[in-house]
């Protein structure tokens, strides 16, 4: 079964070989180049230039409504403030570690704005900002990094998988979830976030392939931020673009300027519509940049130049969208100030709620290993209970 993207790029027709020249059992020759509509454009889709000046409109990627762009801006500003606050919390010892997504705001927020609340999102550990933009309580998002448990939010209720640390494994989950939802007659789309490094993992390829074979409504969204901790993109792939990885699986793909918030949302809107319409998965590569080190524990000066980082400062996605929305007349000083104030309040609330160490219960370690604890776990829980009781007795004696 061939997929039919909504806007088919033109491809030159190829002559059909005579029927008797084809190999027995070979797929019948298509009328046109079989890669038509699967390969990404030669250049990343861009609707705003780096200064925020609009580029000519594109029929294949209509600009999202201005209200959506205003909301995108608002959540990007709050997202950036959240990110800064989380980094500060690591310095105060409130978080064990934090992988920043500063510079990737267009992708983080654009990604979750492109899907519905009842769609499923499959985030990685770098998607804390995306999850807060999806409306999940930031304290619940940071539970993993604070260390009082693994996943702090309810994935079933939020339709958001736990942040995935093993690389690319979520790509297959997204395929299964999306297929299972469609199988049960629901029009759910799964959005799987993935980084450039993880496209080297087998599970990325297995996930995209399963989604394609089973025509599962998944959008694979690769944030190519150029580094996998310290390893540059050139060590991940020799492909002209990560979006070229779709064609081998029969999956239409596109590349987009990941620091152009308007283009990111426009491309993802089309990808989500493609998946929801039953045409199968879609792969999007966003070219962006991780402005900070991998985490607060990393030293990025060991593997990249300050000049390179400076060059990306000029492509800042938040400033780019602000310039554009001001020029459109839908954002003024007062609105910018109000959103900045809202972001400050968001950070202050987070700071306050992260101030005290959360209570943890050692006996809860035995909960949820199985639906019912095994006899061995019951024994071990009793042993820990006795140890705790002995500890508190000896503290009482002091």
């Amino acid at each position: 079964m061939t997929t039919t993207p909504q806007a088919v790029r033109r491809a030159s027709p190829r002559p059909r070989p005579p029927a008797d020249e084809r190999l027995p059992g070979a797929t019948p020759a298509p009328a046109a180049d079989p890669s038509a509509g699967l390969l990404p454009a030669a250049e990343p889709v861009r609707l705003l230039d780096p200064t925020g000046t609009p580029l000519p409109a594109r029929e294949d990627y209509p600009e999202p409504p201005v209200e959506a762009l205003r909301e995108l801006y608002r959540r990007m500003v709050i997202g950036r403030r959240f990110d800064t606050q989380a980094t500060a919390l690591t310095k105060q010892g409130k978080l064990a570690v934090y992988p920043s997504s500063r510079g990737q705001e267009a992708c983080q927020v654009g990604g979750v704005l492109a899907v519905r609340d009842d769609d499923w999102v499959f985030p990685t550990y770098r998607e804390s900002m995306a999850l807060t933009a999806r409306g999940i309580d930031p304290v619940e998002v940071l539970t993993l990094l604070r260390g009082d448990w693994h996943c702090g939010y309810d994935p079933a209720q939020r339709r958001t998988a736990p942040q995935c640390t093993p690389l690319a494994t979520q790509c297959v989950h997204a395929a299964g979830l999306a297929y299972g939802e469609a199988y049960q007659g629901r029009d759910t789309v799964a959005l799987a976030f993935i980084g450039d490094g993880a496209t080297s993992e087998g599970d990325f390829h297995e996930g995209v392939n399963f989604a394609a074979v089973f025509k599962a409504p998944v959008v694979y969204f690769v944030q190519n931020n150029k580094y996998a901790i310290s390893v540059p993109l050139s060590r991940q792939t020799a492909a002209p673009s990560l979006a070229y990885k779709g064609v081998g699986y029969g999956v239409p793909s596109e590349q987009v300027d990941g620091n152009d918030p308007v283009a990111v949302l426009a491309v993802l809107n089309r990808a989500v519509a493609h998946a929801r319409a039953g045409h199968g998965p879609f792969l999007v590569e966003a070219h962006t940049y991780r402005m900070e080190a991998h985490t607060n524990a990393d030293d990025a000066t060991r593997y990249r130049d300050a000049d390179e980082v400076e060059a990306w400062r000029d492509r800042d996605p938040v400033a780019r969208l602000e310039t554009y929305l001001r020029a459109r007349g839908v954002l003024d000083d007062a609105a910018v100030a109000a959103i900045a104030e809202e972001a400050e309040a968001y950070a202050a609330d987070l700071r306050e709620r992260m101030h005290d160490k959360p209570a943890v219960d050692p006996l809860s370690l035995f909960d949820h290993v199985y639906a019912e604890p095994t006899p061995q776990l019951v024994e071990q829980r009793e042993q820990v209970r006795a140890e705790l009781a002995a500890d508190s007795d000896s503290e009482g004696e002091r």
Binding site: W149, G176, G180, A190, N209, F210, V213, H368, Y370
Partner: protein, 334 residues
């Protein structure tokens, strides 16, 4: 009682589960039209359609990861790994997601599924087709691991696995697939977490599971000629493990040999021997001994008989249970 095989009992269990619950989906490599390389899924696609029983791309991590997503959407996947060693690519999915999702999410998300693994040797298979991989799974908290040794247990344990709220690795001893036995299906036997005494005896306890159970039974029969009356306990449920039945038997007999087909070092048999020793020390007349495969990669078919625990090796080991109350000469310093 009708005579049937374990393969047919497993097939019947899958069919009955699919009939009872339309959320059950069976998939893997060659399980559709072909009915599986061992025919365990024979006829399921014809009967239930290719949406309920279907082939997938040949990618085991993909199969198990896909099952994780299906389970998240509320379906009940039953997947086949085709052969023990072919399941290794799926290990990350199994260890990091299948086993842990319930715990990672404090119970908000669970992914009940059955991962069927045809395992172990004794069938003249070439390399990568005869591994005993149960210890990897048993060492992973969050998974249940069961293995039938009888036709009735094959049916009953598989039905229970599909109904279980936790993910189950269902280890199927390949060499027993076509061994026949009496069974009235649908049968329901002892539940998960229960070991079963297959043969009562008074002198020593043989603890075995899966492909080692028939070896233990045969050894117990042969031991009568040597004057030993041996009890045989079939573990069935490796996780959760039934300490109570095993220790009750050993406290009664005072001697114990643990038999497994897998290589011995750091294996399930080592865990069982340690548990018995911890719980039965004062009842033991001899150290707990083990009979296992050798600590080697699974051998080529013409050499596998040397590797596999044999009746003779079991009897030789039983003979070392200090019947004369003298220390085992091989452990005494020269």
């Amino acid at each position: 009682m009708a005579i049937t095989t374990m393969a047919k009992a497993l097939n019947a269990a899958l069919a009955d589960a699919m009939l009872d619950d339309d959320r059950v989906l069976v998939f893997g490599e060659d399980v559709g039209q072909l009915g599986g390389v061992f025919r365990i899924t024979d006829g399921l696609q014809a009967r239930f359609g290719d949406k309920r029983c279907f082939d997938t791309p040949l990618a085991e991590a993909g199969i198990v990861g896909f099952a994780v997503g299906l389970a998240m959407s509320g379906l009940k996947p039953v997947v086949e790994m085709q052969f023990d060693a072919f399941g290794y690519p799926a290990f990350e999915q199994i260890a990091s997601h299948v086993a842990k999702l319930r715990n990672r999410t404090r119970g908000a998300l669970s992914v009940p599924m059955v991962i069927r693994v045809p395992y172990a040797g004794g069938i003249g298979g070439v390399e990568h087709h005869c591994d005993s991989s149960e210890a990897y799974y048993a060492h992973t908290p969050g998974l249940k691991v069961v293995t039938p040794a009888t036709v009735e247990d094959a049916y009953s344990l598989l039905r229970e696995a599909i109904d279980d709220p936790d993910p189950v690795v269902f280890m199927e001893p390949k060499k027993l697939y076509f061994a026949s036995g009496e069974a009235e299906l649908p049968a329901r036997t002892a539940p998960f977490g229960k070991a079963v005494v297959r043969r009562a005896g008074t002198d020593a306890t043989l603890v075995a599971y899966g492909p080692a159970v028939p070896v233990a039974m045969e050894a117990a029969e042969a031991a009568r000629e040597e004057g030993w009356d041996l009890e045989v306990v079939d573990v069935r449920s490796i996780v959760p493990f039934d300490d109570a039945t095993v220790t009750a038997s050993v406290r009664k007999t005072g001697r114990c040999v643990v038999i497994q087909e897998a290589q011995g070092f750091a294996g399930v048999g080592a865990e069982i021997a340690a548990r018995v020793q911890e719980r039965c020390f004062h009842a033991l007349h001899a150290p707990v001994l083990r009979v296992s495969g050798l600590d080697i990669p699974y051998p080529a078919p013409m050499l596998e008989h040397t590797h596999l625990p044999s009746v003779d090796r079991v009897l030789d080991t039983v003979a070392r249970l200090q019947w004369d109350d003298q220390p085992d000469s091989r452990w005494v310093a020269a």
